[in-house]
């Protein structure tokens, strides 16, 4: 059983006590403890269950690479599943629950899977669960889904908030070990703007644990001195608990800062996502130790040698009284020495190499520790915890040579540089045969916009092993970064280190090397996903030979640790099975993030009301105060209708239409797009954009125009007013303003860059208020001012500038309702005041604000088309009877050529008509006009569809517009429209103008 040592633990403060609960049990630890170290201190070695077999799992690592010790942390709105105990710092009141078991961690019924693992090899689910067919959805899948997954789904709304930061720096240094510190220091001294980030709460990385001395001082002192120097530099920013999570194109990188996970009482945002744009990036991300593949290497108590060393040195933990070390390299001997120094027993160091002659093995022998070379582990004994190991000859098949009782096993299969950040954006790797690892190939670095490298690795991330090499490499890296940024570094020597001489490691991918199938089924590669050596070999045997096939077939490396421990061992196993070289097998792709980052942090502040920008017209507050039912239109919200108390939406729409038709209505049309097009070539430009001629429009006049895309399809419509010789004001649909403006700029910037035209979107500079109805002119006259609004002075399709009721106004005599109508543009700041003044003055005529639905109904009654209803991206103006708006004189306009194509000129295209049901009811929205028979694919033939359909309050019956085959030639015909329930509705084809066909109401 693990426990806390009486002394030691460089990261913990033994004077403090922090209490937390683990599966409901109250436990305590110290400041500086991680959840994993605190649990070990409390003798809790069982920390989870694996994904597939529900095997008992203990902690195997001490950092971000941990695959096993995952827990649900927190409660309610602060609950989060799948947190690594190794990177969770404890605090008072922390609650942790283990996952993926039922009914309890200790006794898990799901572990029955583990009793029959032979029946569940890699990919077994592809080979079974196929009969009977409905069983997959209803029986097998639900059971599999329930057994899979890890932590519970959060139920409550997130109680925390998140934020984004932006940083623009010369150099981002990822990793605060001695390499990162050294690189940041040198770059800082050279005056570069540096951001140095470290994912843990501590600086210095492994050096202090490994007993490194720098410049004759313990590493810890050098680290503190360096930090002090960095803190004194204004051009350097350093952050702990901040992980560089991804590197993207053009020097873009993300840093994930965990602000309050360790101290929820601090308040403020929980996570902060830094969006960094860096000139150069140094990844000093260290290396991760690899497990060894021997039978039973997943039993709780088997740990990475470096992790076990961390627990002893950093947190004062005894992993058990007796620890057996198993290794293929010298570094693991440090763990033996540390245990020995702490007064714990190391019954044996099992070294797979034929000899061990480096300084560290010598020191171990001198300390009286038994070193067994050429030896491997045949099997680990124990179920929920290690009870001993059976030894064998590494060269053999696993016949037992000895058995040693122990509580822990520290394993080391060598080290792999952390190459993720290097690889995210295309950095390539090279296989280092001597050290048996992939390391960054500096010659094939990720390149930026200029084709030059922008990522440099430093220290162990480059493949350096000794502290001396690490510091020297970091110095070189800083120099390279400075060079790339056009700066130079002061020439200082790296401080000397006390590195012992280490003999080369020997690659050991399976232990013992001749292990048979029964043993291979007990050798775990991926602890979390339960992928074993036998599974990878099975994949290869079945032809899943590509490393990507193997990964996907076995799920190797797809767990929440993304294969940090398993990938290289898995590749080597695959290479072995295929009789290929490891570099020929290659790696899978490294994808961001380095370790998982919260969705909350990615979303940042954008949630709820601030989810997207809200655009408000100057009259927005009025609508809300009136209790209008609002609908989203782009980023705007527009009043759909203003229901009075007790009114349904249909009733209030009805009232609004009649009030407008009979007396006076008021519409907030401010969302209407307004784009100023100015310059000597403005007329020529608009002639190209619109199907009609705009260059001939006279100042003071308005013209309705149609805009098509290159494919000839109608994309927007609206009224263009000519303000003066060089200036046009283009009105677009509310939803189309940005798109239309971008469309204009696209053509001006990419194709017609030599045309003298300038465009500006002034939508928000003006409130636009439509005064509509038979009493519209009376209202404006009553409001007073200096304008002559008579039919003679301001006829239909004219505009004028002046003052109305004390407001500066531009008045457009246009109508989308068929009524006498003035659209009045008022400077935005005065919009609300004008609206209020009009409302007050309009009391005489019972003035009625109306919403978008009444607007739609009135335009449909008049047979006016609506972009998005009558058009859907497949409709050309000719379909809508709008040939009158297509200039015959112009040589060209956007869409002209497209409209000449055979399908566009096909006489059988569906054309716009009006539709009236025979019983006066309203046609269903979106209904299709049915034709006889079915097509070659057995679909019902159709001959048209409804594009808009409303109950007309003015006419007291349903009216609709639609596109129908030969429609304009079939006036009076009765056709059938479908209903979703299978029934049909009969309707008569009629003229699309239902009301006031001669326009008598608007031309007064």
């Amino acid at each position: 059983m693990s426990t806390r040592l009486a002394s030691g633990g460089r990261l913990i403060d033994r004077h403090t006590t922090r209490t937390f609960t683990f599966n409901g049990k109250r436990l305590s630890g110290h400041d500086g403890d991680t959840l994993a170290s605190a649990l070990l201190a409390n003798g809790q070695t069982l920390m989870g269950r694996s994904f597939k077999y529900h095997r008992p799992r203990g902690v195997v690592a001490s950092g971000a690479e941990e695959p096993n010790a995952l827990m649900g942390i927190g409660e309610g709105g602060r609950f989060e599943p799948n947190q690594r105990a190794t990177t969770t710092e404890i605090f008072d009141g922390l609650t942790a629950k283990t996952q993926n078991h039922w009914p309890s961690l200790d006794f898990d019924v799901g572990a029955v899977n583990a009793m029959v693992p032979r029946l569940l090899p890699a990919g077994f689910y592809y080979k079974t669960f196929m009969f009977p067919r409905p069983f997959w959805k209803h029986v097998f899948e639900p059971v599999i889904r329930k057994s899979a997954g890890l932590g519970a789904a959060p139920k409550d709304r997130d109680a925390d908030r998140y934020e984004h930061f932006y940083a623009h720096v010369d150099l981002l240094v990822a990793g605060g070990g001695i390499a990162g510190l050294q690189a940041a220091l040198r770059a800082g001294q050279a005056g570069l703007r540096v951001l140095l980030v470290e994912q843990t709460a501590h600086w210095g990385g492994r050096a202090p644990v490994d007993g490194v001395e720098i410049g004759g001082k313990p590493a810890e002192e050098w680290i503190n001195d360096t930090l002090q120097a960095l803190e004194g530099m204004e051009n350097v920013c350093i952050r702990t608990r901040s992980m560089a999570s991804g590197v993207y194109d053009h020097g873009y990188a993300l840093v994930y800062e965990r602000l309050t996970d360790h101290a929820p009482e601090m308040g403020g945002p929980r996570h902060r996502l830094w969006r960094v744009r860096a000139g150069q990036i140094i990844t000093a991300t260290g290396a991760i130790e690899r497990p060894l593949s021997f039978a039973g290497n997943d039993i709780p108590g088997v740990m990475l040698a470096s992790a076990l060393r961390d627990y002893v040195v950093n947190w004062g933990i005894s992993p058990g009284d007796r620890t057996v070390i198993v290794t293929n390299n010298d570094d693991a001997y440090r763990t033996a020495l540390v245990l020995h120094e702490a007064g714990l027993a190391v019954p044996a160091i099992v070294d797979a190499r034929p000899s061990a002659t480096g300084d560290l093995p010598q020191a171990a022998r001198e300390a009286g520790i038994r070193v067994l070379t050429g030896t491997g582990i045949a099997e680990v004994k124990g179920r929920k915890s290690v009870t001993g190991v059976v030894l064998c000859a590494q060269a053999g098949e696993g016949a037992a040579t000895d058995e040693i009782a122990c509580e822990a096993v520290a394993m080391s299969g060598g080290w792999s540089p952390v190459v993720h950040l290097w690889s995210h954006c295309g950095g390539k790797l090279i296989w280092d045969a001597e050290r048996s690892h992939f390391r960054p190939d500096a010659a094939r670095a990720p390149t930026g916009h200029d084709g030059k490298p922008f990522v440099i690795t430093a220290g162990a991330a480059s493949g350096a092993e000794t502290a001396g090499d690490v510091l020297a490499d970091a110095k070189t890296a800083a120099g390279a970064a400075a060079d790339a940024l056009g700066r130079s570094l002061p020439d200082l020597d790296a401080a000397g280190t006390n590195d012992p001489h280490e003999e080369p490691m020997a690659p050991v991918w399976i232990m013992p090397q001749g292990a048979g199938p029964a043993k291979r089924m007990k050798m775990w590669l991926d602890y979390q996903n339960d992928v074993k050596v036998s599974d990878v070999r099975l994949a290869a045997q079945e032809g899943y030979e590509s490393v990507e096939h193997t990964k996907r077939y076995t799920t190797l490396g797809m767990a929440t640790d993304q294969g940090k421990l398993s990938n290289i061992n898995g590749l080597a196993t695959l290479a072995g099975a295929l009789n290929a070289e490891i570099p020929a097998v290659g790696t899978t792709t490294f994808r961001p993030p380095y370790t998982p980052i919260s969705m909350g942090a990615i979303a940042g502040e954008a949630r709820d009301a601030t989810f997207q920008p809200l655009r408000r017209t100057p009259i927005h507050d009025y609508h809300e105060d009136q209790g209008a039912y609002m609908e989203p239109v782009g980023h705007w919200r527009r009043p759909y209708t203003y229901p009075k108390t007790g009114e349904s939406h249909a009733e209030s729409v009805h009232r609004e239409v009649l009030a407008t038709r009979n007396s006076l209505g008021l519409l907030d049309a401010s969302t209407l797009g307004k784009i100023l097009v100015k310059g000597p070539d403005a007329g020529k430009f608009l002639d190209m954009l619109y199907t009609n001629m705009m260059s001939t429009l006279k100042p003071g006049k308005c013209r309705y125009g149609l805009m098509c895309n290159e494919n000839g399809f109608l994309m927007d419509d609206g009224v263009v007013a000519r303000l003066d010789e060089d200036t046009f004001l283009v009105h677009t649909t509310s939803g189309g303003a940005e798109h239309t403006h971008a469309h204009m700029e696209d053509w001006l910037q990419c194709e017609w860059w030599d045309w003298k035209v300038h465009t500006v979107n002034i939508t928000e500079q003006f409130a636009q208020i439509a005064v509509v109805g038979p009493n519209a002119r009376k209202l404006l006259e009553k409001m007073g001012g200096d304008m002559d609004l008579s039919a003679e002075a301001l006829p239909f399709m004219g505009w004028a500038e002046g003052r109305i009721g004390g407001f500066d106004a531009r008045v457009f005599r246009i109508s989308f309702s068929g009524e006498l109508s003035y659209e009045i543009a008022i400077p935005a700041s005065q919009g609300r005041a004008f609206w209020d003044a009009a409302l007050e003055a309009g009391g005489t005529w019972d003035i009625t604000p109306y919403g978008t639905e009444a607007l739609h109904i009135m335009r449909a009654e008049k047979g006016f088309i609506m972009i998005g209803d009558e058009t859907d991206g497949t409709v050309i103006p000719q379909d809508l009877g709008l040939n009158w708006a297509i200039s015959k004189k112009k040589e060209d306009y956007m869409g002209k050529r497209a409209q000449a194509r055979s399908h566009m000129t096909d006489p059988t295209r569906w054309k716009l008509v009006g539709l009236e049901t025979t019983d006066g009811s309203t046609l269903p929205d979106g209904a299709y006009c049915i034709a006889a028979g079915t097509n070659a694919n057995n679909q019902r033939n159709v001959q048209g569809r409804v594009t808009s359909t409303y109950h007309s309050p003015t006419l007291g019956r349903g009216i609709a517009m639609g596109l129908v085959l030969n429609g304009p030639d079939r006036m009076g015909d009765i056709v059938e429209f479908n209903k979703v329930d299978g029934g049909t509705v009969a309707a008569k084809i009629v003229d699309p103008v239902f009301f006031d066909k001669d326009g008598e109401k608007q031309n007064v």
């Binding site: 799948n82 196929m130 993207y248 194109d249 919260s598 009301a609 070659a936």
Partner: protein, 414 residues
């Protein structure tokens, strides 16, 4: 081919699974075949499969530059649905969906098709009208869908937030027999079945040239030598224009990056697929428990198989808004694929200007769901010269202006 079954697993377990055969053979290319399919993704393999199964054409090679299923077949978010608006699309996607229903049994390979249903949310009045139109169209196309109200949406997927302050859910188009499948298994299952019919699947074999004689195709040059054929089917997604160029013509197509991401796995909490187009994001939960999330395409062309992070932000923001509970989940992995997009965002399934050469491409962001239907129709086109399923997807539609635009009603492309 030895059949897969629970019994077979038990038998193999007794001998430590040493007896399993290769799922597909790895032969050297022959000198010539009746048909060569370039591209061993889902669409290419399905084409080969139906050439054999429906037309008895088995002297077929499927050649692949990399590893089979390694393009968009293995990178998508595995959604299968057929609630399309336009008749030609609905026909081919519904054919595909119905073939997915029995694919595991047809291939004797469990592709885990799970008809758990797809909800497409309507969050504006415009979308409501659009989906109502789709529902009417589907009713006539033999595609079972219905427009459901917000309460029913909440009932189907309890973790959804239907009262978002910005875009409350007004309803949804619901296709109950839509769902998801295991994407890799689709490629692997077809590959195994094709191999079993005696077809050659040749991986790591890149086409470097197209050989023609008198305007007709005679074979391909590859990194593993010249291979002759009578008919050539090109099914290479984003690289179609490269192959077309080798044969001397151009395709109206662009290639852009599309991204997706998954969360860490959690216990089941969502039993259907939800697509939210106004806010732009879609999500489902895999059998492993990961929330599988798809987003938008980059605004520029490239071939890097990675994309801009701001699209990930946009997507995650949309989904945190739609499913507030995911805020405390973590993104495990993000990736990108290159999608081939045509002018109307519908595929090209067509004879090429070169005799004997055929193209199947342009599936854009929605190809996975079409795999079996696409293979079925393309095989028919290659074998007979005509297929009602593919007739409308010919290359000449761009010249004629006869587009099949799915983005029309509610702005949903694929």
């Amino acid at each position: 081919m030895r059949r897969y079954s629970a019994f077979a697993i038990a038998r193999e377990a007794a001998r430590y699974h040493q007896g399993w055969e290769r799922a597909w053979a790895s032969p050297e290319p022959k000198r010539a075949y009746d048909v060569i399919i370039v591209g061993a993704g889902g669409h290419g393999l399905a084409t080969a499969f139906y050439l054999g199964k429906n037309f008895g054409i088995t002297n077929v090679a499927v050649i692949e530059k990399g590893w089979l299923g390694g393009g968009n077949t293995g990178r998508n978010t595995t959604i299968i649905r057929s609630n399309y608006l336009q008749d030609p699309s609905a026909a081919i996607y519904e054919k595909a969906r119905s073939l997915y229903e029995t694919m595991s049994q047809d291939l004797n390979y469990n592709v885990m098709f799970s008809p758990r249903g797809v909800l497409m949310l309507a969050q504006t009045e415009h979308e409501v009208r659009g989906y109502t139109r789709t529902a009417h169209a589907n009713a006539l196309q033999g595609v079972k869908t219905e427009f459901v109200g917000p309460e029913r949406v909440k009932e189907i997927v309890p973790i959804i937030n239907i009262d978002g302050p910005r875009y409350p859910v007004l309803g949804a188009l619901w296709q109950a027999r839509a769902g998801t499948a295991r994407h890799d298994a689709v490629a692997w299952g077809y590959a195994r079945a094709c191999s079993d019919m005696g077809m050659d699947i040749i991986q790591k074999c890149e086409v470097t040239g197209v050989n023609t004689e008198n305007g007709a195709v005679t074979g391909v040059e590859t990194t593993r030598g010249t291979i002759g054929c009578k008919k050539l089917g090109v099914v290479v997604a984003g690289h179609s224009s490269v192959l077309a160029e080798m044969a001397g013509f151009r395709l109206p197509m662009e290639s852009v990056a599309l991204q997706a991401l998954v969360s860490e796995p959690i216990k089941p909490c969502m039993d259907c697929v939800v697509m939210a187009n106004t806010v732009h994001g879609y999500m489902s939960q895999s059998d492993k428990g990961e929330m599988v999330i798809g987003g938008g395409t980059d605004g520029y062309n490239n071939y890097t198989q990675r994309g801009s992070f701001h699209h990930i932000e946009e997507t995650v923001r949309a989904l945190v808004e739609t499913f507030p509970m995911i805020s405390r989940l973590k993104m495990l992995r993000q990736w990108g694929g290159i999608v081939d997009v045509t002018g109307d965002r519908s595929p090209i399934i067509s004879k090429a200007p070169v005799e004997g050469m055929f193209f199947n491409c342009g599936w854009g962001t929605g190809g996975f769901k079409a795999i079996p239907g696409s293979g079925w129709g393309f095989a028919e086109l290659m074998a007979r010269g005509y297929s009602p399923l593919t007739a409308e997807f010919g290359l000449n539609r761009f010249r004629e202006g006869r587009f099949i635009d799915e983005s029309v009603a509610a702005g949903v492309a694929h």
